[in-house]
Symmetry: C2
Subunit: 208 residues, 2 copies
Amino acid sequence: MALREIPDIVVGRLPVYLRALTRMFQEGQSITSSKELGERLGISSAQIRKDLSHFGEFGKQGTGYQIEYLVGQIQRILKVNHEWEVALVGVGDLGHALVHYNGFANRGFRIVALFDANPDKIGKPVGGLTIIDAATLLDEIRAREIKVAMLAVPADKAQTVADKLVEAGIKGILNYAPINISTPKDVRVQYIDPVIHLQRMTFYLDAK
Amino acid sequence: MALREIPDIVVGRLPVYLRALTRMFQEGQSITSSKELGERLGISSAQIRKDLSHFGEFGKQGTGYQIEYLVGQIQRILKVNHEWEVALVGVGDLGHALVHYNGFANRGFRIVALFDANPDKIGKPVGGLTIIDAATLLDEIRAREIKVAMLAVPADKAQTVADKLVEAGIKGILNYAPINISTPKDVRVQYIDPVIHLQRMTFYLDAK
């Protein structure tokens, strides 16, 4: 099946499967089933089998999945069987937390460039890197052929910086600014805004 | 229509609509259309009209939506027309960033209690609050009747802390730890893991 026919919602579940399978493997487990994985994730086993069937045959009826093999296959599908270099724009509190976040290691991403427009920050070391003047973003990202960026600037700066990232050749933006940004169709944007998640939960809660 | 019949995916879009509408209102706009909102968000106008129709009639054919009214209605639906007190467990780099994050203000949430198990952190002030011993979490949260928590502890601590939060009466957990956690059915969990979002994007990118 051509990749373009795979629903994005299915693609969105693969990283969740990968995270759980990787953890099982780290815990010393070598075989699992769609049933066990589903129970761990609160997803039906049928859903998991259907999702994976978009990409090939990864297990045998009755014998389950070889975890290490399946991890490798999903890494390959998601293209995180190699490491992507990531640019981070905006080195405030959140930016610092991202630089020090140890959850990127071995999951396909490494922050290699830090940008900020604040003269007080430029030149300062953070987590083994040095903050670069955001004014040089275009040249730096182009020269290093970085394709993925995290945007941790204030909302009112997000679109301007995103435009610059796109011009520099960035194809994937993880946007932490609490605002929707527009990009050309070939640039993927994902959003992280804690309030969006919190509001999605309070809908279901009893009003105080 | 009973609330339980509304698909969670629809509920999940309401906060995105609310964020965009609030921004329009702040920019001085008073009326919008599903077409304009859809263009801003990259969602079809039909989808927006259909989503909103689950909750009532908010606009008139041809005249569009009164933004201030619609903002108030969505706030009411999401139960963020009042402020929820939020407990934060784990005051590392990410926890600090969350305490200082100014995106919570006027969106329904206020961090009112900080917990950490590290003796070096307990008693330290952060953003106008004082870090409390995580050992007292159960009593503190019960006494203050806090219903929403953010979990910013390491992955290997997340389930244990989540169990404690549930025991304390928490009904919504925003989990930043990169691991799935199990909770009773009446406790909602949302996840924020940047790698999940990044991997969902790299699927579509040309391999380096």
